[in-house]
């Protein structure tokens, strides 16, 4: 199964996003590179608004992720509550 991935800048705002992704995607693997965190997951990965909000203690608009996003891979499905990356293979 192919990996989807998401890469975020390393900073204070992305720390809870990364944590939330790891909670919701136990199969994901984190790689830390200079100034950047890359998370790979076979087949699918979901980023959930609710999980992030639980960690940051405030409402979080998923579109805020655009500020810290470096890159991603996979078919994107974005709703109010989640962002999903998938490869259909």
């Amino acid at each position: 199964m192919s990996n989807v991935f998401i890469a975020l800048q390393t900073n204070e705002e992305t720390r809870p996003i990364v944590e939330a992704i790891m909670i919701d995607n136990p199969h994901a693997v984190v790689k830390r590179e200079p100034a950047m965190i890359k998370i790979d997951a076979p087949g699918q990965m979901i980023v959930r608004k609710e999980t992030i909000e639980g960690l940051v203690g405030r409402t979080f608009d998923l579109q805020e992720m655009h500020i810290h996003l470096i890159t991603l891979s996979g078919n994107v499905d974005e709703t109010d509550d989640s962002l999903t990356l998938t490869w259909n293979n």
Binding site: S2, Q9, Q63, I67, H68, I70, T71, S73, N89
Partner: protein, 505 residues
């Protein structure tokens, strides 16, 4: 209190639909063909523009808000970088060679992409597609400008940056990237989307902005990392747009498949050729390296590209024609190109150098089956010539590929000891190519590629072979911008300034 009927709560998708694609209408005073004259001639059949899936759903209010936040962060960092002499944090000023190539060849490409997407944002026949392209047009202006602004401070202290606007249209190596963008912009709207949305954004920018920028961070270049990562956050949207566009074409009509496949084949190869510059940047120009070009390609080319093509297999798409040849060439392309950049450094607005023993050991460890066998002996000989006081400069200008415009430095598939020679006679003229991939592209559209402006022949046809006049024309100051890094003004100044910063002298 509010006595109105409670409003329907609109989800992101419905709301976005109302705020974008619902803005258009079926015209009655002119036909769609008159309003969108370019969408049909490429042969791509679109039956329902509404089937276009919007990848990200940014309305302008959210766009302004989030992009402004990115901008504030970006300019705060580059202001601080300039005020604090951040350039002295670089591992070594030879690193700037990569950034000089970036400003001369890549940033103008960002701007060309902006113009191209503005055209597509007008020519496509559906509002969803138009708006996605327009946002990308706007983003690409941002990328060109943030790059120029980040690099502007380097220009104040180092050579090779000052004439980027002249060298963009005139010097030889920038023609590689510019021909890529000119090729895309002279194509129809759908091919443009494959060229830029797919090849450039999906295949190329990940390799350019992600591992290379990580390398920039590793080498203390916070200005470049900042523009790189900040740009790439937009690219995430752009890559998704490229992918959506391919899926849209394939889903609309089965007749689109062979056309799309041919474009994928073409633009994958075009992209690989431009990437050879990035390969040389990663393997040779970073004093401290995060990963080799080959390792980066394994992650972002083989693994990620492979995932993409597996995903598209359900539509009948196969991996691009040159995929296996490209994979075989990964072990060689950066070495072959950098050897060229070194020996032609009298004609480049950046410095070249002989890799140090440490560099070569690192290259051996990253390319265990090829570097020592094929490339180290040449560098050892070049070192010997240097030590004997007869440093190697190749004053024979290079033969250029009619399609990709690179010097024909690449070898036969399967034989890294023999240059790949390919030529075609067309209407009584000879044309030369670096590879079968580039020759195929020419033969598919010869009337297009016979027009290529090839900078090396132009030096003779337009300037009578006068190298001094050529240097003036491209904005290259001999002995200052070009030649060896060792002993250059850049090296002397960097060492002096760093000495001032780290001692009391």
């Amino acid at each position: 209190m509010d006595t109105q009927v409670t409003k329907k709560k609109l989800g992101l998708k419905e709301r976005y639909k109302l705020l974008t694609r619902d803005l258009g209408w079926e015209p009655t005073h002119h036909t769609r063909d008159e309003i969108y004259p370019y969408v049909k001639y490429e042969g791509i059949k679109i039956h329902d523009w509404d089937k276009w899936e919007d990848p990200f759903r940014l309305t302008m209010d959210a766009y302004w808000k989030y992009q402004a936040e990115k901008e504030r962060k970006f300019y705060a960092i580059i202001d601080a970088h300039a005020q604090n002499n951040g350039h002295l944090n670089l591992t070594d000023a030879r690193y700037l060679t990569a950034i000089k190539i970036f400003l001369q060849a890549i940033s103008p490409g960002e701007y060309a992409a902006s113009k191209g997407f503005a055209r597509m944002g007008r020519e496509f026949g559906g509002v969803g597609t138009q708006v996605a392209c327009q946002m990308q047009a706007l983003d690409e202006i941002r990328h060109a400008q943030t790059q120029i602004h980040a690099i502007s401070n380097y220009n104040k202290y180092y050579n090779g940056f000052h004439a980027f606007s002249d060298s963009r249209d005139r010097i030889w190596y920038t023609s590689v990237a510019r021909s890529f963008f000119d090729d895309a912009m002279s194509a129809g709207p759908f091919e443009f989307m494959i060229a830029i949305g797919f090849s450039f954004e999906y295949v190329l920018t990940n390799l350019l902005f992600v591992p290379f920028m990580s390398g920039a961070a590793y080498n203390g270049d916070m200005a470049t990392v900042t523009f790189g990562f900040s740009a790439q956050s937009d690219e995430a949207r752009h890559m998704t747009l490229g992918l959506e566009c391919i899926k849209f074409m394939l889903e609309q009509d089965p007749d689109n498949l062979p056309i799309v496949q041919r474009w994928i084949d073409k633009w994958f190869w075009r992209g690989m050729r431009v990437l050879s510059l990035v390969g040389a940047m990663m393997d040779y120009m970073l004093p401290k390296r995060v990963m080799s070009w080959k390792e980066a390609f394994d992650i972002y080319g083989v693994e990620n590209g492979g995932a993409l093509f597996n995903d598209l297999a359900r539509y009948g798409i196969t991996a691009p024609k040159g995929w296996d040849i490209a994979a075989g060439a990964i072990e060689h392309m950066s070495h072959q190109l950098f050897l060229g950049l070194y020996q032609w450094s009298f004609g480049t607005a950046f410095h070249g150098w002989i890799p140090s023993d440490d560099d070569m050991d690192w290259l051996s460890s990253k390319y265990p089956t090829t570097f020592d066998k094929y490339y180290r002996p040449r560098w050892e000989h070049i070192k010997k010539l240097e030590a004997e006081g007869t440093p190697f400069k190749n004053f024979g200008l290079a033969k250029l590929c009619q399609t990709c415009q690179l010097p024909t430095v690449f070898t036969e598939p399967g034989d890294p000891t023999l240059t790949c020679h390919r030529e075609v006679d067309y209407k009584g003229e000879k044309y030369h190519f670096c590879s079968d991939g580039c020759k195929d592209i020419f033969e598919n559209e010869p009337e297009k590629y016979i027009q290529s402006w090839l900078p090396m022949p132009a030096l003779f046809s337009e300037l009578g072979g006068d190298i001094g006049a050529w240097m003036d024309w491209v904005g290259l100051r001999n002995g200052i911008d070009n030649g060896d890094y060792v002993g250059s003004q850049d090296q002397v100044n960097f060492d002096k300034w760093r000495g001032m910063a780290t001692s009391n002298k």
